[in-house]
Point group: C2
Chain length 199, copies 2
DNA sequence: GCGGAACTGGGTCAGTCGTCCCAGTTCGCG
DNA sequence: CGCGAACTGGGACGACTGACCCAGTTCCGC
């Protein structure tokens, strides 16, 4: 077999684990399923990772990085009005979920698991803290860009945004009703925009 | 040991399973853990239930019954204004979550699991449909009681309410920030009340 | 009080899990 | 070229899982 470095092997295992998690869920994310997906032997897993839990921690931590959410900033930049920006950001987020529902569901499962596992509980709360930070940054960016201001602390509004996206995701995952989800996204956008006022 | 009917045994096992689910999570909800909690033998389990999955289905179905959510109607009845009613309903819901966080988390885990399991997927979507129905009924009840009307279909607003409560729950479960959750509940109430207008 | 049905406990089975060990192979460096 | 470190594959271990079987015990209706 190909002889590759530990670092590279960790990356391959990590990517394989994410694929399995999205496709089959957390309960199917066994070390054997991961190495099968990565086409490695079981021993290679424990050569690269001390334990399964360490890999799980890596996945949670990668979400904290939040490259994905940062992508939404691009959407904001293209909009002509703040109203359009918020609406398009939420619509884009919904598209993201619909494009890869398993991934989003896997992240929920992972967060739930992390909250139950003392060793990972800290990571889960950091994950949400990061969500809130990203959302707050987007809101702040929006206000300065269009010379407007928010009538409540952006930290609080950021929580509202995250709650709305979570709720939107769970709702669509449960019944896959596209039309209803789009109407909900519109209502969510409106709920946020209510707090936008002239500078 | 006590000789009891199958029906009664199912109830005892059901209650024990719910306790284990709330305390230790879905991954710890093994048949052995359940019978230990119910102080029965393993054979009694399979005498009362054909399989573990059948019991899981029962639990999901019981959520669909939604006795708990119906309790919120009482809160609405006590309020003097619709604004107060919505605010108090959401605050009460938050209290409910805080009083038994494990239960709420267990329900999330169960829903996620149901969505991944073909045999249970239907139940999960029915569960959310039921949530939406209950929320819609509450909104309708509110409008008639105070002689007001909603500016959007209550079906759509119900979805917003469910999404907000889900988001509120996940947010608090992740960081257990009471103050932030209360501010979020207030924002959520405001988001809903925006759509209330004179008759 | 007796027969048959209802119910119970203990033991067992095959399968999966995370983890580990060890004999081998391959590589980079001197 | 050779040596030691890095890396690999296969196999194994003990623990746990859901499901099941069967020999007993207890209860109810007759």
């Amino acid at each position: 077999m190909a002889r590759i470095s530990v670092a590279q092997r960790r990356e391959l295992l990590f990517a394989a684990a994410v694929r399995v998690l999205a496709r089959d869920g957390l309960s199917a994310l066994s070390t054997r399923a991961i190495v099968a997906e990565a086409e490695m032997s079981l021993a290679s897993f424990h050569y690269a990772y001390a334990s399964r839990e360490e890999l799980l921690g890596d996945i949670v931590a990668s979400v904290v990085g939040g490259e994905r959410e940062a992508g939404l900033a691009g959407v904001l930049g293209e909009a002509a009005t703040p109203e359009e920006a918020v609406r398009r950001a939420l619509a884009t987020y919904l598209d993201l979920v619909r494009a890869d529902p398993g991934r989003e569901q896997g992240m929920f499962e992972l967060t739930q698991h992390a909250l139950r596992t003392p060793a990972l509980a800290r990571l889960a709360s950091e994950q949400y803290q990061r969500y809130h930070e990203v959302a707050a940054e987007l809101l702040d960016h929006l206000a300065t860009r269009f010379d407007r201001r928010w009538d409540s602390p952006t930290a609080d509004l950021a929580r509202l945004v995250v709650a709305l996206t979570d709720g939107l995701t769970l709702s669509w995952l449960a019944d896959r009703d596209d039309a209803a989800a789009e109407r909900l996204a519109a209502l969510a956008a409106e709920a946020v925009l209510t707090h936008l006022e002239e500078a």
